[in-house]
């Protein structure tokens, strides 16, 4: 099992390579130098191999943290807010990394408040409120149709409560009525809306 805490820091005096080496020993990994090379490459820190942690930016340290959590090829990875310190570029790197891990069959438990990130990478979502799961499922199952928006020559029309299945009928009706249709959008609830609905007033 690998773990990366939300609040973590590595000793400033250690280099990226030394740090991974220490965790290889602590985790009993026999991966050796090739494992370290691969992990540093995976998180995009190949160039920073012998750089001391204290000279790294927060984003680099976060990525080094991910490499550290992956030492010993864990089957299960627990990540607590892994992208909180990252800029959009760093977030994309982590997203790519998580997709790569999924591809390799590693189970990742990602704890985050960045719901847009979760929407992009997670297969299953559980929303916790005060220690209790208040909503659970695949993001697309949790999402409910919120309506259909159609751009017509007179402006934009909203069909509240309508879903994807109703789009052909709506468009056919509009065309039959002589309107010109420029675009159709199916609106769904975002994870944020689901979250706020599920957690309700308890959210503070």
């Amino acid at each position: 099992m690998g773990y990366l805490a939300e609040l973590f820091r590595f000793p400033g005096w250690a280099s990226a390579d030394e740090l991974l080496h220490l965790h290889q020993r602590l985790a009993g990994s026999r991966g050796g130098e090739s494992e370290r090379t691969e992990l540093l490459q995976l998180v995009g820190l190949t160039e920073a191999r012998s750089r001391r942690v204290e000279t790294m930016s927060k984003g680099m340290q976060q990525r080094l943290g991910l490499a550290q959590a992956l030492v010993g090829t864990p089957r299960f990875l627990f990540l607590d807010e892994p992208t909180s310190a990252l800029d959009p570029g760093g977030r994309r790197t982590v997203r790519g990394l998580l997709e790569e891990l999924r591809h390799r069959g590693v189970a990742v438990l990602l704890n985050s408040h960045l719901l847009s990130e979760i929407e992009l990478v997670c297969d299953r979502v559980a929303i916790l409120s005060r220690g209790v799961i208040v909503a659970e499922g695949r993001p697309e199952d949790l999402a409910r149709p919120r309506g259909v928006e159609v751009d017509v020559d007179g402006g934009t029309r909203l069909y509240e409560g309508a879903g994807r299945q109703e789009v052909p009928r709506i468009v056919a009706d509009l065309v039959a009525a002589g309107a010109q249709v420029f675009g159709v959008r199916v609106l769904e609830t975002t994870l944020e809306e689901i979250y706020l609905e599920a957690v309700g007033d308890q959210a503070g």
């Binding site: 773990y3 990366l4 973590f8 820091r9 590595f10 000793p11 005096w13 220490l22 965790h23 602590l26």
Partner: protein
């Protein structure tokens, strides 16, 4: 337990690579320089007086007196520097490191908290012991070269100073479970100061022949055995002096030191084990 050597190796590397080590090195060089200067002055004063007045009716060995007093001072300095190092290496081990986030990646590894603490203690005790013995040998070389004086016992006091710093490291580790790094540092130095004051009280008690003062000091030095170790070592450097020289020594600032007897070592080791056990128990229950 397989993790202990790993933690020791990591902690040793850390103590050598942190800036604290450089600070300690610089301070040590300054201390040794000052000590050499002082020793030189002291022995020169003795030489000139020995040349001026030939008769010494009481038969006090001035060279012995000077050497023992200067070396006593150096042992005090060495213990102090060793205590500073012990405290700095250990004061943030649990709560301090947890608050900074350094502990989290370590405790989740399959080595266990007790391994972490034992390894940390072993590394700190090792670094401090080596350091204290080196400084001790440095001051020994200085008094020998400048004043042609050697303590009556050499190995015992060195080992006792080393053990005294190990006791301080153990106390500091225990404190680190409960206190933030700064608060723990303050606490450790207050405890260290309390031990020193107790030792001085004992010497005053000896000079005044006050049984009660001596008893208070003795109880305190057993409660804080780094003080008993230091006192015993101080006593041993003039173990062979006798007559008026011994009397004159006992009136000096480092002269009233008490020999602690055969129970000192077993008690010091048991004390470290006890403090360690308390720290392990508290750390095992601590919610990080």
């Amino acid at each position: 337990m397989r993790g202990i050597p790993i933690v020791i190796g990591y902690s040793l590397k850390e103590s050598l690579r942190r800036r604290v080590f450089l600070v300690v090195l610089v301070l040590t060089v300054v201390f040794l320089g000052l000590f050499a200067l002082g020793t030189n002055e002291a022995f020169q004063a003795v030489e000139s007086r020995l040349g001026a007045e030939a008769d010494n009716p009481l038969g006090v060995d001035d060279r012995e007196l000077t050497g023992a007093t200067m070396f006593g001072l150096s042992m005090f300095g060495t213990l102090f520097l060793g205590a500073v190092l012990a405290a700095f290496l250990t004061l943030g081990t649990v709560r301090g490191d947890a608050e900074r986030g350094l502990l989290q990646p370590l405790v989740v590894r399959p080595i266990g908290r007790s391994t972490l603490l034992v390894g940390r203690f072993a590394a700190a005790a090792l670094v401090c012991s080596v350091y204290v013995v080196l400084v001790y040998l440095g001051t020994l070389l200085i008094t020998w070269q400048i004043g042609d004086w050697l303590p009556d016992r050499i190995v015992g006091p060195a080992a006792q100073l080393a053990a005294a710093t190990a006791v301080i490291a153990a106390l500091s580790l225990l404190g680190s479970v409960f206190l933030t790094a700064t608060a723990n540092g303050i606490a450790v130095f207050m405890v260290f100061g309390a031990g020193l004051v107790a030792g001085l009280l004992g010497q005053i008690g000896e000079a005044l022949s006050s049984e009660r003062l001596m008893n208070v000091a003795e109880v305190a030095s057993w409660l804080l055995p780094f003080e008993a170790l230091y006192q015993d070592g101080l006593n041993a450097i003039t173990a062979d002096s006798s007559g008026f020289t011994e009397v004159a020594l006992s009136l000096g600032p480092f002269g009233g030191a008490q020999a602690a007897g055969a129970f000192l070592w077993p008690w010091a080791l048991a004390y470290i084990a006890l403090v360690g056990l308390l720290a392990l128990t508290a750390f095992a229950r601590k919610d990080l």
